[in-house]
């Protein structure tokens, strides 16, 4: 996407702007990324929920899938990689998807949008090379085109609509998960914070100037990766490589809402994706373990890797994401536990620095979402 620095990390197209804004740059998924700016994670998080936060997510993979034959053939080929209804997605709409492997685990999670004569896909940075290879191998009738000449920004929070409408007229009329092309911008009304907001793909040439114009809007602040992580954790959203990976299935991860009726037992296009046997079995019988929300009873955060136990000492699983939720003003976590311990309100214990501390299974999300449906 852009130049490598001395450490072999790639730089974001807006690198100089992040440095100018006081961003503390750290390595993430092969990129030098701003983890926070001067206000710090807590203030950046709270600001996003109160006003609007601008995130540079240009590290993520943007890919266009163009049919060599018909759009229908493209949609069906893409469906063969995911337990998701692609064919039924209307033009101008976006949907959440999951690549699965033959064991029913998750190779990556992604967003895809129907843009009439092609699909636009956004995948995780750490998986993008593998995803492009996977799609290219598995879909010979499809042109898989990685987009290297565009930045990706996210504007999130209650102030996002008014701020963006002044620069891209028309976005205010979009609903959650709509996708639109406005001039050179590709806009979706979605994000990774639980807030209303947008993701905006822009040609590299004008991206920095556009980001500066958004930052000049009242209430818009630059937000780093640290707050992006605490925002998505409060919203109960999975982080690939942590809460979901090749060993976790969509059903275990509680992502059954992403598996539409058409792909389930009795649906029009039942199964026919990698690992379908496991997914359909788990849909019918329930999974052995489940992703749950966790609220430590005390104030000590339970971080990723914290082992979880039943009150009688039986090992149940572990925390996959955990920390402090600035908006809920308490430690929060997500993790996997055996199914019989997955009911909200179930008392468990988590081992922190050698001590077993009480923690309770909680509903997700921790913070109500404010999507404009």
């Amino acid at each position: 996407m852009s130049d490598l620095d001395a450490t072999g990390l790639q730089r974001l197209p807006l690198h100089d702007l992040h440095v100018e804004l006081g961003g503390k740059m750290v390595p993430f998924a092969g990129y030098e990324m701003p983890v926070q700016y001067a206000p710090g994670v807590m203030k950046e998080h709270l600001h996003t929920r109160a006003a609007a936060g601008l995130f540079d997510v240009s590290h993520m993979g943007q890919v266009i899938l163009r049919p060599k034959g018909t759009m229908e053939a493209l949609c069906l080929a893409f469906e063969a990689l995911m337990p998701v209804d692609v064919l039924g997605l209307a033009v101008g709409r976006q949907r959440y998807g999951l690549f699965t492997n033959d064991q029913g685990g998750i190779l990556d999670d992604l967003m895809f949008a129907n843009r009439g004569d092609h699909l636009f896909v956004v995948v995780n940075a750490a998986c993008k090379v593998a995803d492009v290879a996977h799609m290219t191998d598995a879909m010979p009738g499809v042109e898989v085109i990685p987009i290297a000449d565009r930045a990706l920004l996210a504007l999130q929070g209650p102030g996002a609509e008014a701020a963006l409408e002044r620069h891209l007229p028309g976005v205010a009329a979009m609903r959650f998960m709509d996708q639109a092309v406005i001039g050179e911008a590709w806009v979706s009304r979605s994000g990774y914070t639980g807030e209303d907001g947008y993701e905006i793909s822009l040609p590299l040439a004008g991206a920095e100037a556009f980001a500066r114009r958004l930052l000049a809007e009242p209430g818009v602040m630059p937000i780093g990766l640290g707050a992006r992580d605490s925002l998505r954790l409060e919203a109960g959203l999975c982080l690939y490589g942590h809460d979901i990976d090749e060993t976790t299935s969509p059903v275990e991860a509680g992502l059954t809402w992403a598996i539409q009726k058409a792909r389930r037992a009795g649906g029009a296009r039942e199964g026919g994706f990698p690992g379908a046997a496991r997914t359909l079995r788990e849909l019918a019988e329930g999974p052995e373990r489940q992703r749950v929300g966790l609220r430590p009873d005390g104030r000590a955060p339970m971080r990723e890797g914290t082992e979880l136990f039943a009150p009688d000492g039986t090992p149940l699983g572990s925390v996959t994401s955990g920390g402090f939720g600035p908006s809920v003003n308490a430690p929060i976590a997500m993790g996997y536990v055996a199914r019989h311990f997955a009911t909200t309100g179930t008392p468990l214990e988590g081992e922190v620095r050698g001590k077993r501390l009480p923690v309770t299974v909680a509903d997700l999300p921790f913070q109500p979402t404010t999507y404009k449906r």
Binding site: G40, V41, M42, G226, R299, A300, P301, F324, P326, P331
Partner: protein
């Protein structure tokens, strides 16, 4: 005030030593969200991990800077861990220690030496 290479400050108050973390350390940690303090009236040895600080980013320990007895802890930090960021060298002291010989503090850095270290 004296400073350790572990980014703690030590201030003599009567026959006690008050211990906290430096502004540099607080900034590096980020927003502090949880503090676990030692029990008063416990004997500790230099290097013992006696407090835990959790920030939005990670957990870290505070080590006992010298041998001695913990005589008082700052319970305010339990309810208001954010004090560590607001006033690290004042209101956010962590504990007070009784030590045999205050001259052991001579080994630590003065303010200028510490500022050179953190540059």
């Amino acid at each position: 005030m004296k400073f350790t290479k572990d980014h703690e400050w030590l201030r003599v108050e009567g026959d006690l030593v008050v211990v906290g973390i430096t502004e540099h350390a607080a900034t590096q940690l980020g927003d502090v969200v949880f503090v676990e303090l030692p029990e008063p009236e416990t004997m500790v040895a230099e290097g013992d991990e006696i407090c835990v600080i959790e920030s939005v980013k990670a957990a870290s320990d505070i080590l006992a800077p010298v041998d001695g007895e913990i005589v008082e802890v700052n319970d305010k930090l339990t309810d208001k861990p954010g004090l560590v960021n607001e006033d690290p060298t004042g209101a956010a002291w962590f504990f007070k220690m009784r030590i045999d010989d205050l001259s052991v503090l001579d080994q630590f850095m003065d303010e200028d030496e510490y500022q050179d270290l953190v540059g």
